[in-house]
Symmetry: C2
DNA sequence: TTTGGCACTCGTGACCTTCGAGTGCCAGGG
DNA sequence: CCCTGGCACTCGAAGGTCACGAGTGCCAAA
């Protein structure tokens, strides 16, 4: 087991390296931190830390930098979550309060998060899977053409065109609308298929085909839209990455454009509590030199989606985690209010 | 006036420079292009072109590179629009045909354009200003709470909550819905305010307040949503920019994140025909080393929105213009069908 | 276990040289 | 009048050398 002081040395190394972006040596360490021991002692500790794999040297005769394992220990044991200052909290509140609709909430959240953390922000739209139906609307646009509009409790709206096998009258359509809503409003999406299963049977022969088609489209929408969407921002912050640019930034930008990759990334995060994935802990190979800090958010107790940031492994973990957590809370509040 | 051959030399310089990304010298030019004259002659021509400001030398004793003015001449006079190959056309068709809704169309278009041009793609959502109303729906969610859903002919859906001053009955609401739709369906957004002006008067005293509120929200939505949205993609292509990375790429990424900037950029493009803005022709200072190729697209004759790409001034103009034009046409078709 | 001392490593930056692509200019020829 | 070959010149890129110094590991003494 590592002694208390050695952990302290690791903490100092991480903090210095995050600040200066340069390998940190024993002398510099003792100067910047009041460790109460000489550089030589620190060197011994560093050698031990290196043996354990927490730090490494880019070259012989250079300072040490933390490894992924070192950051992991730092995040788990050595650092807390730094709460935001109250001006920051107020700024969040003000910034999010002006949002007019769901798109706007998400867009503002992305900007906010990117600005606070100075990193790339990723915000997932509230998922349809876990949300409930607020209303289903059916509009007759042409004799055999119906528009289906689905409204969720998170304010999301999805619409689909339905080409019906036969014309359907306004009365039947109103009837279907009423019955459909009485069954599904307030229910979870996952439960909908079962709830509407026997609906066609209660309609006249003529309309059954159309009713079935409409219901099929509804279910299809549920499935399709379970493929979640997300918004990213703050990519300009990637330019602060390092000096060895193109090689580092390229795969990251590519990964960020692949929504699938990002969704998987967020999906891997724990449902509750904050998840930090460091460097090679990320499965995607374009992201092996980045860390992902993610957390769930939602209008109630339960998370309906996730948000987070992507940044270099060399990031200010306490600060980033604080910002991510705070933003998630406020977004949850905003969603609950609307 | 520049002689025919000098224009030919300029064309060759642009083509070579776009291909190699390196200043092109007189000797290399005569080798790669059958100009029928000696390097010395080309040197004279180059000196003339430089006097006129079409090309420049990065340093003495280096080859020449085109200036913005040179690219301008190239685009206007020396190069046409390169049509896509038929496999490319088929690929576009296939790729866009799978789209399920408007969001999907836009998302696919962005990816497609980014892939075809290997540059950053920008696609504006069909604007509400120029589109027409397909349907307005009113849903009573609570006694004094109405949801307003607005559907456009381009398939876009906007919804707003309306808190009414007084409860309104289902009958009155249905009445309002019917009258509202009979007046505005098929009309342009710009005309709507006038068309609904006197609507509250025809309702009973009790409901007038609510009707006014609903109409106010509708008009507000029209105004608010005239602020257009857009989607961008292919930012990873920025890494192909040049060797002097961070400085070049940073302001571009920042500009791309500012939707306002991009909207203004697209707004400056001509409504019909293709617009190419080269380097310093772009007002925004982050984009002075990029060119923007934009074109309007729409379901009918008239453009309802614009799309385009942002890339280095050193880009393959004919190819890019060809791709942009082709994609715009296909998107127009898709929109017209749905 | 800590500390000061010491020899060693090796990347960084400054400085210099070489190399060659590219230029401008000029005199001669079609 | 325009084109061409020749020629001296420029100057950035690439490579080599060297001194510097931050940082290391190890050891013997406190």
């Amino acid at each position: 087991m590592l002694s208390e002081r050695r952990l302290e040395v690791l903490r100092a190394i991480v903090q210095d390296y995050v600040g200066t972006e340069e390998p940190v040596g024993s002398k510099a360490l003792t100067e910047r931190h009041r460790l109460g021991v000489s550089p030589a002692t620190v060197r011994n500790d560093m050698a031990a830390l290196e043996d354990e794999g927490f730090i490494a040297q880019p070259h012989t005769s250079a300072g040490r930098i933390p490894t992924d394992k070192g950051y992991r220990l730092f995040v788990d044991k050595l650092a807390g979550v730094k709460p935001l200052s109250s001006p920051e909290r107020r700024a969040i509140q003000n910034f999010l309060d002006g949002a007019v609709d769901l798109d706007d909430v998400v867009a503002r959240t992305v900007r906010l998060l990117a600005q606070l953390t100075r990193q790339v922000a990723v915000v997932q739209y509230p998922s349809l899977t876990r949300s409930t139906v607020r209303h289903v609307e059916l509009l007759s646009l042409a004799p055999a053409r119906v528009m289906l509009v689905l409204i969720t409790d998170t304010g999301r709206v999805e619409q689909r065109m339905v080409d019906c096998p036969a014309p359907i009258g306004e009365t039947s359509l109103a009837d279907l609308r009423a019955r459909l809503n009485s069954r599904v409003v307030g229910r979870r999406f996952a439960d909908v298929p079962q709830l509407v299963q026997d609906l066609p049977e209660s309609f006249e022969q003529d309309d059954r085909g159309t009713v079935s088609t409409v219901l099929a489209t509804l279910l299809e929408t549920l499935v399709e839209e379970t493929e979640e969407r997300l918004m990213i921002g703050g990519t300009a912050n990637l330019t602060r990455f390092g000096h060895d640019f193109p090689l580092t930034i390229r795969p990251v930008l590519e990964a960020l454009e692949e929504q699938v990759v990002l969704l998987k990334l967020l999906g891997e995060a724990k449902d509750s509590g904050m998840t930090v994935r460091i460097g090679h802990e990320n499965a995607h190979e374009g992201l092996t030199s980045t860390s992902v800090v993610a957390v769930g958010y939602g209008s109630g107790d339960e998370a309906v989606a996730k948000l987070g940031v992507v940044g270099p492994t060399r990031m200010d973990y306490p600060g980033t985690m604080g910002a991510v957590r705070a933003v998630a809370r406020y977004v949850g509040q905003i969603l609950a209010e609307s």
